[in-house]
Symmetry: C2
Subunit: 373 residues, 2 copies
């Protein structure tokens, strides 16, 4: 039976949160294995979480997308015999790619103190064997290129060297639910991904304008599902024209089409709040970024948000477009988002660039017929 | 007179925004030079912005902190003579540190077409000279380790090789104002920095609990001022006890101290909204992160935000603590933020971990005496 060591992190996580974190992490790891038809058992041994599986190689890539994990290592199990331990340490050091240019250290721990060699003795014996075999340089500090871990348990010795990165964050689902507005564009799937990363159960909502655009949103949601093991998406698709059509028609009648984008976004957010109430979500998520187009101003952000009853989370608000694109490429949504589709069908010729609350209230009044248009 | 080439980016920036972007960038670059007592002239030549100064070396480091710039290069000016151009290209290649292990390319442009060598000819002659001098490998693609730029103008040839990174983003001030709540902690200065990066004029507000904590906030604001040339901070310091004291006293009277953190944050946000109205800011900025402590839940975020009239920007909401700490270290606020101070003096023994709007309304009613306590 093969073994994979899962490392979790989240510097600063405190108190009762840690227990819930690990419980949910194990659940999501099990869901990840199941989603890929892999047989395996998830077990906690002390402070560590392991996957026992005969399909170690197949499991590594999917597991490297489970939020809450910071890294993973395939683990070799050998007999509790010092020669077997030393030989496996050399093998693992080679697997981790060390050579004369790299530095390494061996860190042994004995869960079972009856093993006849102490941890420092194991470190020294294995360390010397690695140096002789590879010519690498010992570095006992945190700065070593490769750390060979040895854990002597009751039944076997566990040895690992290779470390694969995982995405960090919190286990999906540990933080409650959010409603994420997903368009066909680059930004919104990245925003949803970042909230998945922070442990939120994401409910995707898409306002449909065209079949192609909706397909992009659904395809991106499918990509995101590779980062949300343990949480199943139930995307809501709504007809955007039904939600915004009547109001935009009235704006046209009173000659205020430049307000289209502001009212459109407010209506979509209000509809998303209704869905949030239905599904028990605490917040909305948008891919807003500042200044990409003239109407994406702080002033417009203020009036779009005004009076929306749920908090709006904008995880991309402090990022550059180049940074957002880099994440989209890395997670696999970029190529879908950039498939050519027409731009928004409700976009006016000259969208408002800097609205004010006073002007918003004025237009709302005229829409409602309280003030003569 | 020395010359520095400033490169700006912001992929996706459109229309009228670009002009305002460059105008503000030039203003902020001038402010940067002035803040460091450097003499220099900021000039646009075609699509490029240059600084002319006799203090090139001194100017590079401060300029590398101007938001809106993606990189800078010190530029050598030589006579319009092919031998001088080629010799300087070799010199710049060496300055950029190329050797047999690196790849390079030469990219010449002639602003003045009367120069007797074409751009491809300059590329070839300079490229060969660099290869002979350094043994480096030519790579005409974007992937080259070093690009030597040559611009033949009317009076001189401009040549550059070294490229220093700059922080990207938008020029501070181009996006209007925000009020940023700055505590003595790690997160809030990073959040403020990210909104500076996205072009916001930040108005820092600190709610004071202790002298030491306030000094940390002020010291961090001073660090942030090295990223806000062209925008002067006018920090507002308010006594936190004055803002929250009476309400927290009432919570104690009715035995609901576990609500302290929720009410405290709501009161600080409402006060920050008043300041935002005064200074014409469109939004508030907080360093919120999810799940670091049990009371930092999505449910609490919802009720803390409820009814706050300004949008609350939370640029760190999608980041891990490790990512936030890495930014804090890079920008220079980490060591200040981690100076030891007592924790919040209003922190109850058992803060509420997951409040609801209904419960919030209930407590507000009892505070106001409408419902018997």
């Amino acid at each position: 039976m093969g073994l994979i060591l899962l490392r979790y992190g989240e510097l600063g996580l405190k108190g009762g949160n840690r227990k819930e974190f690990v419980r949910r992490l194990r659940k999501n790891v099990r869901a990840c294995l199941k989603a890929h038809n892999l047989q395996g058992v998830v077990a906690s041994i002390g402070q560590r979480v392991y996957v026992q599986t005969d399909q170690v190689q197949e499991a590594l890539e999917p597991l490297s997308r489970v939020f809450g994990l910071v890294s993973l290592s395939p683990v070799a199990q050998v007999a509790r015999d010092i020669e077997a331990v030393v030989a496996e340490c050399v093998h693992q050091a080679r697997e981790a790619g060390i050579g004369p240019e790299t530095s390494y250290r061996v860190r042994a721990r004995r869960a079972d103190k009856t093993f006849p060699f102490t941890s420092p003795e194991i470190n020294r014996l294995a360390g010397e064997a690695i140096r002789e075999a590879t010519g690498a340089r010992v570095d006992l500090s945190d700065q070593a290129d490769v750390t060979i871990g040895v854990e002597v348990a009751r039944d076997a010795a566990l040895i690992y060297g290779r470390v694969l990165p995982a995405p960090g964050g919190l286990p999906v689902g540990v933080e409650g639910r959010v409603v994420a507005l997903i368009s066909g564009g680059i930004d919104s799937p990245v925003a949803a991904w970042m909230m998945l990363k922070r442990g939120c159960g994401v409910v995707p909502v898409h306002f449909s304008q065209s079949e192609g655009d909706t397909q992009k949103a659904l395809d991106n949601t499918a990509v995101l599902s590779h980062y949300s093991y343990g949480w199943t998406f139930h995307p809501r698709i709504l007809d955007q024209r039904e939600v915004v059509g009547p109001t935009l028609e009235r704006l046209r009648e009173i000659g205020e089409e430049r307000w289209n984008c502001v009212f459109c976004k407010r209506l979509l957010l209000l509809k998303a709040c209704e869905i949030a109430e239905e599904v028990g979500a605490h917040a909305l998520v948008m891919g807003d970024s500042l200044g990409q187009v003239a109407s994406q101003s702080l002033a417009n952000l203020e009036i779009i948000s005004y009076g929306i009853p749920k908090p709006i989370l904008r995880p991309l608000i402090g990022l550059d477009k180049a940074e957002i694109v880099a994440i989209a490429r890395r997670i696999g949504t970029f190529d879908i988002s950039t498939r050519s589709e027409g731009s928004c069908i409700f976009l006016p010729a000259h969208p408002l660039t800097r609205g004010s609350l006073e002007a918003l209230r004025g237009v709302i009044g005229r829409l409602e017929g309280r003030i003569p248009g």
